[in-house]
């Protein structure tokens, strides 16, 4: 599986460059943009695994991100748990939540699944707005819809965490797509009935991909909230997280491995490097999304794969898995 080819050498070199950037003293602003890029990259990759390869158009990933973020915040707040336990525990909590919810969710088919997952965000947001776990004497409900997250990590080490999660998500995608699970998922996506006839356990394949995606989405969320330093319900369960994943994947190219990388870069650039038009960036992204679906549904990478230059470049790398 891990043959040493041009691709891995490229990945290692790029990772090393990214890792050396803080050492050579690059500006904080650039570092912040790169940090967001890696978080978005992990989110987009996982959404691509769900929507692009498993046929699960889940619109409920912000709910799982919020659950992971809240678990992390509470573990740090109430129990002073060390980070190396708190982060895996937070991801495990999100995954357990997803596992329990998969029983009702997997009964819903097609767009019922999309709507059911979209509802999860709102359900969680209303619940976390109402639930105040910190008792306040005299008040009917306690304080603490929002939490501070005190990690004591320096911004540079959080940057390294994001880098690790982003790169790990790329490797994970390659690993899953090359495995038996990936082959099964793609067979299901292309023709569910034919796949079932060939002996693929549809429920199990979809469940595994859903849980893996949730775990990694939770991990990316933990890294983001460690950086942000606080969490509150409106932001945590916000649709804007969904917009990030959706746009990164669709603009870049759904069902391609390179798509989310290009897409995340575009989303970060549009949302961060145009500070003067910051309020218009969701609007610009929405228009871009609509135009891409209407005119070039395979996305930027899908378009580029038709050109000769890109294919000539691909010759030196291994064949893309679709």
């Amino acid at each position: 599986m891990f043959r040493l080819n041009a691709e891995y050498i490229l990945l290692v070199i790029l990772t090393l460059i990214m890792a050396l950037l803080p050492v050579v003293g690059i500006g904080w602003y650039t570092l912040h943009v790169l940090f967001l890029f890696f978080v978005y990259l992990a989110l987009a990759n996982m959404w691509n695994l769900l929507a692009g390869y498993s046929g699960l158009v889940s619109l409920g990933q912000p709910a799982f991100m919020g659950i992971a973020g809240y678990t992390l915040a509470m573990l740090l707040w109430f129990f002073d748990t060390p980070l190396y336990i708190a982060i895996p525990a937070a991801c495990a909590a999100a995954t357990a939540f997803a596992a329990v919810l998969s029983i009702p969710l997997f009964r819903m088919r097609g767009f019922y699944f999309s709507i059911g997952t979209l509802l999860l965000n709102e359900i969680c947001r209303v619940w976390f707005n109402w639930w105040r776990p910190i008792p306040v004497p005299g008040a009917p409900v306690g304080g603490g819809a929002g939490f501070g997250i005190r990690s004591g990590l320096s911004p540079i080490s959080i940057y390294y965490l994001a880098l690790a999660v982003g790169i790990a998500s790329i490797i994970l995608m390659r690993f899953i797509l090359g495995s038996k699970l990936g082959a099964g998922l793609m067979a299901i996506r292309d023709n569910e009935r034919a796949a079932a006839t060939c002996g693929i356990d549809i429920f199990r394949c979809k469940l595994y991909s859903f849980l893996i995606a949730t775990f990694f989405t939770g991990l990316a969320a933990c890294v983001f909230y460690l950086f942000q330093g606080h969490i509150e319900p409106t932001g945590a369960f916000s649709i804007s997280w969904l917009n990030v994943m959706l746009m990164a994947v669709i603009i870049g190219g759904i069902s391609t491995e390179e798509g989310p990388i290009v897409g995340s870069a575009i989303v970060v650039l549009l949302s961060q490097l145009l500070p003067r038009y910051a309020e218009y960036s969701p609007l610009i992204l929405g228009v871009l999304l609509t135009l891409i679906i209407t005119f070039t549904p395979p996305g930027i990478i899908g378009m580029m794969r038709k050109t000769r230059l890109y294919n000539a470049m691909l010759k030196y790398l291994s064949k893309p898995i679709t």
Binding site: A51, V57, L59, P104, L105, R107, M108, R109, G110, F111, Y112, S114, I115, G116, L118, L119, L120, E122, I123, V126, W127, N129, W130, I239, N243, L246, I250, E279, Y280, P282, L283, L285, G286, V287, L289, T290, I293, T294, F295, P297
Partner: protein, 286 residues
């Protein structure tokens, strides 16, 4: 325990919810497409009413004469130039394109009208109507009347006109309808136009009843979807019952659990319905 007030407001509110659901149910039934922009279309009516009220001092109910045709044209164009193209590729691109449209609209509202809550205030939107010893806001009664008018109108449109006939043909067999010389693209565009007209009608009355902001788009999308899911597809009675179930579940939840969990209970009801019986109480399994 005085349950009269929450029950009566719940039923009246349910009527309004049913109008929100009508347009979504129509599009869902005709194109098998969940229009994720439906909530944004509902709020479109509210904001257009607000703009006309501020600019010309036009009464929102009178302004419906302008709002409904505008909404119809907008819906026709959106379907004709955007959704029809995506629809040829499958249901997922169509689903995602409606999501894109909802983001664009919600952000436009935010740019034009600010993210703060607004409401359509008229002299009759704050009046009360006394039924025996109890008082019900007059606007709730108006909402309920509008519900019946809208349902009769849609019924007439679908069953007594040529447009309705062609829409019903397109539902039954798109290929045969094409062979009979019906332009499916045109019928789909008309359907979204009609759906948007009803959405904007609901939007105006929602604006008179509740304050709204750009994020309300998503709340109303869930309400519309809940109405359709509870009541079942394609059944007008179902949509009406669905609206009332949802309205009652919200007002009763507010009464027993407090206002903070009002929407929570409504959403949980929809979620359970989706998992157990997505075809609705009155729906037939396909």
């Amino acid at each position: 325990m005085n349950l009269f007030s929450p029950i009566i407001t719940g039923i009246f509110l349910g009527g309004l919810y049913a109008v929100i659901g009508l347009g979504l149910s129509l599009v869902f039934g005709v194109m098998k497409l969940v229009n994720l922009a439906h909530g944004a279309f509902v709020v479109f009516g509210s904001y257009l009413g607000l703009a006309l009220l501020i600019a010309f001092g036009l009464d929102p109910i009178l302004a419906l004469i302008l709002i409904v045709p505008t909404a119809f044209i907008l819906g026709y164009c959106i379907q004709k130039f955007l959704v029809n193209r995506a629809y040829q590729l499958g249901t997922e691109p169509a689903l995602l394109i409606t999501y894109g449209i909802s983001i664009i609209l919600a952000n436009l509202y935010q740019q034009i009208f600010s993210p703060y809550f607004k409401s359509l205030v008229t002299d009759y939107s704050v009046k009360g109507l006394s039924i025996g010893p109890y008082s019900v806001p007059l606007i709730y009664v108006l909402d309920f009347i509008v519900c019946f008018i809208a349902m009769l109108l849609l019924h007439w449109l679908l069953n007594k006109t040529y447009i309705g006939l062609s829409i019903r043909c397109a539902v039954q067999d798109p290929v045969a309808a094409k062979l009979m010389g019906i332009s499916i693209e045109h019928v789909y565009a008309l359907t979204l136009g009609i759906s948007l007209s009803f959405a904007s009608l609901a939007g105006v009355f929602l604006g008179l009843t509740f304050p709204f902001n750009p994020v309300s788009s998503f709340t109303y999308l869930f309400i519309a979807f809940g109405v359709v899911v509870i009541g079942g597809l394609g059944s007008m009675t179902g949509t009406f019952i669905g609206g009332i179930v949802l309205g009652l579940s919200q007002t009763l939840a507010a009464y027993f659990l407090g206002i903070g969990l009002q929407t929570f209970v409504g959403f949980i009801v929809i979620f359970i319905m989706l998992a157990i019986r997505p075809q609705g109480i009155f729906g037939v399994k396909e």
